[in-house]
C-alpha cells in the first residue's frame, strides 16, 4: 500500500470531513479534522487502516486556539490527526473507548494545557506534584514561573 494509494482511500472514505490533507514527506500524512468527528475517524483508522497503535498525543498552544495532534502509526504509514480547539471552550472528546492506551496522553493534556477531556475514564492529576495550585497549566505560553529561591548552604548566599 504505497503512500499515494492510502491518500486516495482516505479522500474517498472521509470526503468532507478531511479539512486538510498534506503529505510533506515519505510515510508522513497530516490530516485535519473537526473535534466532533474525532472518535469516528479514530475508529475508521483503527479498523480500516490497521492504525491501532497511537504513538502519542501532542498539544500545542497557538495563542487563540489549542492544536492537538494525534500520532497514529501502522507498519507502513505514520498519520498525524490534527484537531483545533478554541481557547475559551477547551473541550475534547476522549478516544479511550477506541484505543485504551490513549488514557495517559489525554491525562497529560489535562495537566499541561487545562483542556478538559470528556468521559475520560480516570482524570486524577498526573504529572504535576501533589501540592500544585489548581489553575496553573505549565505548558501554556502565557504561564510564567518564578524560580524557587536558591539558598546556598553554608551561609554564602
Amino acid at each position: 500500500m504505497s503512500d499515494e494509494q492510502i491518500i486516495e482511500r482516505l479522500k474517498q472514505d472521509l470526503g468532507a470531513k478531511a479539512l486538510e490533507l498534506t503529505h510533506p514527506d515519505k510515510r508522513r500524512i497530516f490530516l485535519k479534522v473537526v473535534p466532533a468527528d474525532l472518535v469516528s475517524v479514530a475508529t475508521l483508522l483503527r479498523d480500516a487502516y490497521d492504525m491501532a497503535h497511537l504513538s502519542t498525543v501532542s498539544g500545542v498552544d497557538k495563542g487563540a486556539t489549542f492544536e492537538v495532534v494525534y500520532h497514529f502509526a501502522s507498519p507502513v504509514m505514520n498519520l498525524n490527526l490534527r484537531v483545533e480547539v478554541p481557547r475559551e471552550a477547551p473541550r475534547l472528546p476522549s478516544i479511550c473507548a477506541v484505543i485504551p492506551g490513549a488514557i495517559l496522553y489525554e491525562r497529560e493534556l489535562q495537566d499541561m494545557f487545562g483542556l478538559t477531556v470528556e468521559n475520560i475514564p480516570d482524570s486524577r492529576p498526573l504529572v504535576l506534584p501533589d501540592g500544585w495550585p489548581a489553575g496553573q497549566h505549565p505548558l501554556r505560553k502565557d504561564w510564567k514561573h518564578e524560580r524557587p529561591p536558591e539558598v546556598i548552604p553554608g551561609g554564602k548566599s
Binding site: S55, P100, I103, L104, Y105, D122, L126, V127, L128
Partner: protein
C-alpha cells in the same frame, strides 16, 4: 480482605522514584496503581527557552541509558525541519553509536533482571562484559554514558582505522559471551523457573494498550520502527525482527538476547562498509516555521519527537514521548493477578526508564474507591492492616 502495600519512591528494586500501590490479597496482586511525578522535571517548558543547539544537550539528559537515542531522534527531526542532508559517513557513525548503545542497554537489562530474580552472579557477569562496550564507547566519544556525539547535520567525531579494528574485536568477544548468556537464560532451571509465566500480556492486549519495543515483540507483535519506518541507514542493512510468542518475562529475555545478536551483525556491517567523506554539514541558526515528527527505535521501544518551529532560533514546541511511558498501561495489565514476589521482575521486564517517562506520567483504571492519596513518604511506617489477609481462599470479589 484486601490491603494496599506501597512500593514507594525509594525502593531497592527500583533504581528510580516511582510509587506503586498494590491492592493485595495474600500474595496475589488484585490491582495496581502507579503514581509517578517524582521525576517530572518540566523538560518541555525548558526546551522552549533554549536554542536548537542547547536543546541537544537537554534531550541527551532525559535518560542516562538511552541518551543517544533521544538526541538522534531530536536531531533527525531538526534536520527534517531545516531540510538538511547529513553526509552518509556522519549517518553511519551516528547509527553505529546507537547500536552500541542498544548492546550496552540490553546487557544492563539482563543484569538487572538477574538481580531482581536474585541471581546475582548473572548480574555480575553481564555487567562485567558490559564494561567492554563501555570501553568502546569511551574510546569513540570520550565519555561512558552521555556521548554528545550528535550535532545538527551530522556527528562531531570521526572514526579512524585503529578504532574500527578495536570495535570488531570487542564485538567478537561480546558475541561469544552473549551465546553463553543465551545458554544460561534459556535453560538454567531456577532462573527459567523464576521467569516463565510471570507477567502475562496477551497479543490483543499488547496491541490495544499500544505496548512498544521488546515488551510488545515478546507477545508476538512484530512492531519495530527500524523495519516499519526505516530512517537513514536502516533500509540498507539486513537484519531480522526478533519476536517471541510466550508473552511473559522469559519471552522478553529471549527477545532482548536475540536483539543483541542482531545488533552485533549491524555493528559489523556498519564498521566494514563505512563510506568515506565528510562527517557533518553546517546548520543554520534559525529554522523557518515548519513541523516534523521523528521516530526512532530506542532499546526499550519506539521513541517519538514532535518538533514545531516558528522561525526563531528556539523551538516553539518539543514533544518527547519515551518508550517506557507507552509500556505503563501494559505493566498494570501484567501486574494484575501476579505475586508480590513478581512485582520487581514484572517491573524490570519492561526495562523502565522512569526518567524518560517522567516528562509525563501514567495511571490506568485503578479501582477508584475513596481517593485517599496515601502519603507514602513514610512507606516503611505504613502498616496497612494488623491482620494478614486470609490467604487465597474465599470468594475474591472483583473490584470493578
Amino acid at each position: 480482605m484486601k490491603f494496599e502495600i506501597p512500593i514507594g519512591p525509594q525502593h531497592p528494586a527500583l533504581k528510580e522514584p516511582i510509587s506503586l500501590r498494590m491492592t493485595v490479597e495474600g500474595e496475589v496482586i488484585r490491582d495496581a496503581d502507579i503514581r509517578l511525578g517524582y521525576n517530572h522535571r518540566g523538560l518541555e517548558k525548558l526546551a522552549e527557552e533554549k536554542t536548537w543547539i542547547q536543546n541537544i544537550y537537554l534531550t541527551e539528559r532525559i535518560c542516562g541509558i538511552c541518551s543517544h537515542s533521544h538526541t538522534s531522534c531530536y536531531v533527525q527531526g531538526v534536520e527534517k525541519l531545516m531540510e538538511l542532508a547529513p553526509p552518509r559517513r556522519g549517518l553511519y557513525i551516528r547509527y553505529l553509536i546507537s547500536e552500541l548503545e542498544r548492546v550496552h542497554s540490553h546487557l544492563l537489562w539482563l543484569g538487572v533482571a538477574g538481580h531482581e530474580a536474585g541471581f546475582d552472579s548473572f548480574f555480575m557477569y553481564t555487567w562485567r562484559d558490559r564494561e567492554v562496550v563501555m570501553d568502546l564507547l569511551e574510546m569513540i566519544s570520550g565519555n561512558r554514558v552521555h556521548y554528545a556525539m550528535n550535532a545538527i547535520g551530522g556527528v562531531r567525531r570521526d572514526l579512524d582505522d585503529a578504532q574500527r579494528q578495536k570495535i570488531l574485536d570487542g564485538v567478537a568477544v561480546l558475541r561469544k559471551r552473549t551465546e553463553y548468556y543465551f545458554h544460561i537464560g534459556a535453560n538454567e532451571p531456577s532462573f527459567v523457573g523464576r521467569l516463565a509465566g510471570v507477567g502475562r500480556l496477551t497479543k490483543e492486549r499488547a496491541v490495544a494498550l499500544c505496548a512498544v519495543g521488546p515488551t510488545a515483540r515478546a507477545s508476538g507483535v512484530a512492531r519495530d520502527v527500524r523495519k516499519d519506518d526505516p530512517y537513514a541507514v536502516y533500509d540498507e542493512i539486513d537484519f531480522e525482527l526478533c519476536t517471541a510468542d510466550t508473552c511473559d518475562v522469559l519471552g522478553r529475555t529471549v527477545v532482548r538476547i536475540k536483539e543483541l545478536m542482531e545488533s552485533y551483525k549491524i555493528i559489523e556491517f556498519i564498521v566494514r562498509n563505512l563510506p568515506a567523506g565528510e562527517i557533518a554539514v553546517r546548520a543554520p541558526r534559525k529554522a523557518k516555521p515548519n513541523e516534523a515528527v521523528s521516530r526512532y527505535e530506542a532499546p526499550r521501544g519506539e521513541n517519538i519527537h514532535y518538533i514545531k518551529s516558528n522561525g526563531s532560533d528556539k523551538p516553539e514546541r518539543l514533544k518527547v514521548r519515551a518508550p517506557t511511558l507507552a509500556n505503563y498501561p501494559a505493566t498494570v495489565e501484567m501486574l494484575r493477578n501476579g505475586f508480590i514476589a513478581d512485582i520487581p521482575l514484572i517491573f524490570a521486564a519492561i526495562d523502565p526508564c522512569i526518567c524518560c517517562a517522567e516528562r509525563s506520567v501514567e495511571l490506568i483504571d485503578a479501582r477508584s474507591g475513596e481517593e485517599r492519596t496515601v502519603r507514602m513518604s513514610d512507606l516503611r511506617r505504613l502498616a496497612a492492616a494488623r491482620r494478614r489477609a486470609s490467604g487465597l481462599k474465599g470468594k475474591a470479589e472483583w473490584p470493578f
